[in-house]
Amino acid sequence: MKKFLMFLVVLFMANIATAQLQLNGAGATFPYVIYSKWFDEYQKKTGIQFNYQSIGSGGGIKQVIEGTVDFGATDGPMKDEQLAEAKTKQGTDVLHIPTVMGAVVATYNVPEIGKDLKLTSDVLADIFLGKITKWNDEKIAAVNFGRALPNKPIVVVHRSDGSGTTYIFVDYLSKVSEEWKSKVGVGTSVNWPVGLGGKGNEGVAGQVKQIDGSIGYVELAYAVKNDLPYASLKNKAGNFIVPSLESVTAAALNEAKKMPEDLRVSITDAAGKNSYPISGFTWLLVYKNQKDEAKAKALVGFLKWAFKEGEAFAPALYYAPLPKEVIALNEKKIASIQFNGKPIK
């Protein structure tokens, strides 16, 4: 018993010693893998602990507004009302810092077509609006020249759970289709005109694999890891682009030139001849004016390290790294983080 008590005391003391250097974060599930890697590597280097809970972007934004975490993470930028609410509740602006990029691909199951289906924005929108219902529709045939297309009904599969993947996908459809914009709109969950709902990437991919003639959308990383067939998509410049980490980084490169000051930007339907059009950033949410000096220093140190060394881990984990131009913008943002109104050394 005595020994056990001693053990508890030691454990408790050890906790006090490190407790000051624990940063709590919560939010998006999509970047969880790379964030875990970063936190792990950075802890090995500096001893600073990170506790990140991947509860979803919506949850991350809520926690940042309520001030229950030291930083948040999201796949869709915070809305103006949310930023205003955070400012009144926490008394400081919230900075958006893009970390890596992901893409959403259209995955399908049509044995007759095989691996390289080509789609245009109109065709994709019409399929998900339920206007194109057969695989041998002439609109699909027009871009898949010389292919034997089967006379099969198209079964649409979408995410049933609210997710950043859905957000990027419908954000793209809204940009390319007026009808989608007015009828359905953009959100982490939407009122789908047609289709079956699957929970998570695995739910969508599972149904697509099982149902002959189906089409759905999943994260690029998920599709690559599981070797799913995915369609190449015609971009704004008119080229058919195979989704890949390079074509995603290319999309960001083109949009970086006209990034807004707060870095909240959607890069779907990006310009540039090599840009894959359904790409998006994922952001860390950081308070501009920090309340705790030690934590502020730790956070700034971590962010600097992430963009200097951390980005190198991205491709191996199937995330597209940021182009240098965006990293330069990030470094400016990080320099603006303050403690009690003073910049952090």
Partner: protein, 322 residues
């Protein structure tokens, strides 16, 4: 709760004097018991309070509208209520005869050496986590439904609206079947216990009067009717609230279709799917109102089932006819 004075006298000669321990014990247990009630009231109040935004905006139309559009902030719960009730009922329709059949076999017909391992296997089904049912349902049962069962129904009884449409595999039928497997052990094992509790003299009397084995079994069944209904209520309760397994196989589409082959959606599933990413106040409020509706539906189903038990036991003195 109160013990009559006569009884106290016989039980404990000390009890005339005030006993501190007894009093403390009495109030302590009373307190524990009231905690349960308090918790339910608190939950109901909390859900009502947090959904006030949506209740004010939509009123009763929340229950009758079938539009669910998070982008436009328009919410109606009817397809979810429908999906919950239909999938649970379907599960009951499949599981009840099976469950009672298993119970009768185990109690009346099975040889002793078979009864134990058999009962154990049935109870084992109850211990499997629902995510495992979900995965099994999604990867094994759904493809089987899609390739074998649903085409069979389409071909032979496809003219009935109940079996119209393309076989997707996922849908209301898949949800009903997976739920029936999940509630089967509850119904079977409780029914077995209830049947076992039938006094042996009743059965012996029936057999002595020259009834067949089936007739004797029927007397046993009618004797344990209220217990079997109780088992059914418990099973139904699990079916109404089941989330993960259903979400994985029901197709998650908020529509009301007569056909069992079409996808549907349940209240528990929409909560599991959309709560984490709900950011607007109205959206959260509408989701909490769904939770409140689920709470009320479960309460109503339970209450009406209790009423059923009560009316049965009132009309029949012990036994009665089936």
């Amino acid at each position: 709760m109160d013990v009559s004075p006569e009884l106290q006298k016989t039980v404990s000669p000390k009890s005339f004097s005030w006993n501190f321990g007894d009093t403390v014990f009495k109030y302590l247990t009373q307190f524990f018991a009231s905690l349960v009630l308090l918790m339910i009231l608190l939950m109901a109040y909390e859900m009502y309070a947090s959904s006030s935004l949506s209740i004010q905006k939509f009123g009763w139309s929340f229950l009758t509208s079938s539009e669910w559009d998070p982008v436009m902030d328009k919410y109606g719960a009817l397809p979810f209520i429908y999906g919950t009730l239909v999938s649970s009922l379907l599960a009951l329709v499949i599981a009840l005869p099976l469950g009672i059949g298993i119970a009768v076999f185990l109690v009346e017909l099975a040889p002793k050496w078979l009864e134990r391992p058999f009962s154990f296997t049935v109870e084992l089904l109850a211990g499997i986590p629902s995510i495992v049912y979900g995965l099994w349902g999604f990867f094994i049962m759904v493809p089987w439904l899609r390739s074998t069962v649903e085409p069979f129904f389409s071909k032979h009884v496809g003219f009935i609206p109940l079996f119209e449409g393309a076989p997707y595999g996922v849908g209301m039928m898949a949800a009903g079947v997976i739920l029936s497997i999940m509630i089967l052990p509850i119904i079977a094992s409780i029914s077995r216990d209830v049947l076992k509790a039938v006094p042996i003299s009743q059965k012996e009397a029936a057999l002595a009067l020259g009834s067949t084995r089936w007739e004797a079994t029927r007397i046993g069944l009618s004797y344990s009717r209220s217990g079997i209904i109780g088992a059914t209520i418990l099973g139904l309760g699990r079916a109404l609230g089941e989330t993960m397994a259903v979400t994985m196989v029901i197709g998650n589409r908020p529509v009301i279709k007569a056909s069992l082959l079409e996808p549907g959606y349940t209240m528990a599933s929409v909560l599991a799917n959309e709560f984490t990413e709900a950011t607007s106040e109205m959206y959260i409020s509408a989701l909490i109102e769904i939770a409140l509706v689920l709470f009320v539906v479960a309460l109503l189903v339970n209450a009406s089932a209790r009423l059923l038990v009560w009316s049965f036991t009132r009309n029949s003195d012990t036994g009665g006819r089936l």
